[in-house]
């Protein structure tokens, strides 16, 4: 039976945690390459349409973007603190911090929605629905397509992350983790940091540069 042999399979709990971490790192590398394809596309078209893209960028809501950056970084810090608290033997605190981080994740999504609504009113929609009169179509519609792709794919990851954090928070509140046994919490934290780091690349290339 597979689960019977699991303990023997791994030898020790530490080895099992080690494996889980290695698996997570591998997963993270696939995520990075998933986004890398989009970043490459961004780089190519940015060099093809430097002027148009600069103007398209002027239609980004830098304030909301910056607020969202702060929100996401804060929640990432909270998750780090939660992991820390659990390691120190305060899983209850950890659970509360996780809940807060998940709330911030929801805030991020709401703000993102507000931003999308703004673009939709303006006509900055992807592909064939692009209606922004102020900018010539070829390059600018590409900018908006990539904007929606990058932020949309990221938002999907945030949504998943919020789900993961919520489950972890509930489990932590129910006393599911201890100082010695909290691998799922660390893995969930790694995932949330990944989501945060990806945003730290998405934000400057779309809003700032």
């Amino acid at each position: 039976m597979p689960h019977e042999s699991t303990a023997e399979h791994w030898g020790s709990e530490a080895a099992r945690a080690h494996a889980a971490h290695l698996g997570m790192w591998l997963f993270i590398s696939t995520e990075v390459l998933l986004f890398a394809a989009l970043f490459t596309t961004y780089g190519v078209y940015r060099s093809v349409y430097p002027e148009v893209w600069r103007e398209a960028q002027a239609h980004m809501d830098v304030t909301l973007g910056t607020v969202n950056t702060v929100v996401l970084v804060t929640s990432s810090v909270l998750v780090a603190l939660a992991v820390h608290a659990t390691r120190e033997g305060r899983p209850g605190t950890g659970g509360a911090l996780l809940g807060l981080a998940a709330l911030l994740g929801v805030t991020f999504l709401v703000l993102k929605g507000v931003e999308y609504a703004g673009h939709a009113r303006e006509g900055g929609l992807p592909g064939e629905w692009y209606r922004l009169e102020a900018l010539p179509k070829p390059g600018a519609s590409l900018f908006f397509s990539l904007y929606y792709l990058l932020t949309g794919l990221h938002a999907v990851h945030v949504t998943l992350g919020v789900g993961v954090l919520t489950v972890l928070a509930v489990r932590a509140a129910a006393g599911g983790f201890s100082a010695s046994d909290h691998t799922p919490l660390e893995l969930g934290g790694m995932y949330w940091h990944l989501v945060d780091v990806i945003w730290l690349f998405v934000y400057p290339i779309l809003y700032l540069s």
């Binding site: 042999s5 494996a19 698996g23 591998l26 696939t30 989009l38 190519v44 078209y45 629905w129």
Partner: protein, 542 residues
């Protein structure tokens, strides 16, 4: 191993096959061996389906003009042949089927690192395959397996389900790769250092790295094409300022390494089989390991050689050409080591060895055609002709499929505890090797003569070579059917194999055949690498 007392004529009672005989016990299993067998059955099924399309194509090409189908049906058929063979057979065949079954056995582990993910990988594969096949029932795509834009974004056929299916299968591939990397890193038996790992494990390890790193890019590209069809995202559409060539770059960034996903594991199989059937250690273990990892690495930097005719910059063509030459060297080293392993061995002429020899010949020929393409100037003539078709069939069918059959015949007793009729297997092996030559050598010559690929209709001057190729294909089909026949028969009626019918010193043979669910009663401890047939210190060949 001393198996528990078995009735005469029956398999050892304590084996993974007898663990539960219901369908449910298979569908919920986390045993890597059962998962490997499930993948084996699934991929063989898809191989049959893809083969039916291949035969239909060959029959259509018997005459110029219409033979049995029109242009649209032909275009759909070659697309389905490609999609099925590449994504539903070649990519999972050796890593997911043999890799799952053998890697834990070879490294002395009870299972892979993440058995539940492993089962998820089967279901993702099934889901993806179903979605793709659903697309086939919808009429099927007619884009070719490469989905080149802007054709794939504008054609009216059922491209979306096929894209989606391949996208899902990509996740299955990633999970399998991730699992193997963690398994090889963490679950090796005591004493099994990296440089004692069986070469098959090295090959699967290299393959897994490619799977984990390249597949996400493919997933993103397919997603972009799908979005282009659904919302007109415009990323690859020149009318919206997009660049169709960018698609080719991103697609081949995955799909060139994917060629190594298909061929590296087969090299691993050959490395094992050559040692087992010549009773020798690997002639140059170190070089095979380095070249495996070299291929996995350099393979990421050669994608541009698919685009020499697309107006690629001269510098790009040069750089990709040189990188491609380097990859070829890694392959040359392996052929050298395999030949060296045969030298002064004790060579048993069993069916797997016939396939090994066929493999070496086809890998060499196909590889050398590849080297010729990398000169860039010759590529201008050969690109997108039947020469390319022949080239990648030499590698995919000639090499990978031969290795798959070698592995199937080598490990069949391990997996099912029974042997097959040896003389019949040898005859079938000879038939398959010659059927292959008869099918694809004419195609290479067709390419030389200038016959482009993906042609439903052709100028009459090409007909004689097409007829020759179709004749060869029917030989091949006959060979495959006879193999299916005697292997199916042997599943029940084959002679009992015993634990190690070949007398092989590969690590997987240290367990019982078929292995018990727990693989080993006592975890093996290794003081040397596999296939050390002669005791004592190694000597350098004079």
């Amino acid at each position: 191993m001393s198996p528990p007392v078995a009735e005469p004529g029956a398999l050892p009672p304590d084996n993974y096959l007898s663990e539960g005989r219901t369908l449910w016990s298979w569908l919920t299993t986390r045993d890597h061996k059962r998962i490997g067998v499930m993948f084996l059955m699934l991929t063989l099924g898809f191989f049959f389906l893809g083969g039916v399309f291949a035969l239909a194509l060959r029959i259509e090409l018997l005459t110029p003009g219409r033979t049995i189908m029109g242009h649209l049906a032909y275009n759909r058929s070659f697309t389905l042949h490609g999609v099925i063979m590449v994504w539903l057979f070649m990519i999972p065949a050796i890593p997911s089927a043999f890799g799952n079954f053998l890697v834990p056995l070879m490294i002395g582990a009870r299972d892979v690192a993440f058995p539940r993910l492993n089962l998820a990988s089967v279901y993702l594969f099934l889901l993806g395959a179903s979605v793709a096949l659903w697309g086939m029932i919808q009429g099927g795509a007619d884009t070719g397996w490469t989905f080149y834009t802007p054709y794939s974004t504008t054609t009216g056929t059922a491209v979306l389900p096929v894209l989606l299916g391949v996208f899902i299968i990509g996740f299955s591939t990633i999970l399998t790769g991730l699992n193997f990397i963690a398994t090889v890193h963490l679950l090796r038996a005591p004493g099994l250092t990296w440089m004692r790992l069986p070469l098959f494990v090295w090959a699967i390890y290299g393959t897994s790295i490619i799977q984990v790193l390249a597949t996400p890019v493919l997933g993103m590209v397919l997603l972009l094409v799908a979005l282009e069809r659904v919302v007109g995202a415009g990323i690859f559409d020149p009318a919206r300022g997009g660049d169709p060539i960018l698609f080719q770059h991103l697609f081949w960034f995955y799909s060139h390494p994917a060629v190594y996903i298909m061929v590296l594991p087969s090299m691993g199989v050959i490395s094992e089989a050559v040692c087992a059937f010549s009773r020798k250690n690997a002639f140059s273990y170190r070089m095979i390991v380095y070249s495996t990892m070299g291929i996995a690495f350099v393979g990421f930097f050669t994608w541009g050689h698919h685009m020499f005719t697309s107006g690629e910059s001269t510098f790009g063509a040069g750089a990709f050409g040189v990188m491609s030459m380097l990859v070829a060297i890694f392959t040359a080293i392996k052929i050298f080591s395999w030949l060296g392993t045969l030298y002064r061995g004790s060579i048993a002429l069993e069916a797997p060895l016939f396939y090994v020899l066929g493999f070496m010949f086809f890998l060499f020929s196909g590889g050398m055609i590849g080297v010729a393409y990398a000169t860039t100037s010759l590529n201008l003539h050969w690109h997108d002709t039947y020469s390319v078709v022949a080239h990648f069939h030499f590698i995919m069918v000639g090499a990978t499929l031969m290795a798959f059959l070698a592995g199937l015949h080598y490990w069949f007793p391990k997996m099912f505890g029974r042997t097959y009729p040896g003389a019949l297997a040898n005859a079938a092996a000879v038939l398959v090797v010659f059927g292959f030559i008869a099918t694809f050598v004419p195609q290479f010559l067709l390419g030389n003569a200038g016959m482009p690929r993906r042609y439903a209709d052709y100028p009459p001057r090409f007909q004689s070579l097409h007829v020759a190729s179709t004749a060869g294909a029917s030989l091949l089909a006959f060979g495959f059917l006879s193999i299916a026949g005697y292997l199916a028969w042997s599943l029940r009626h084959g002679a009992l194999a015993g634990d190690n019918p070949w007398g092989s010193l590969g690590f997987e043979w240290q367990s019982q055949s078929p292995p018990p669910t727990r693989n080993f009663d006592v975890t093996p401890v290794h003081a040397t690498g596999p296939h050390q047939y002669a005791p004592g210190e190694p000597r350098h060949a004079a």
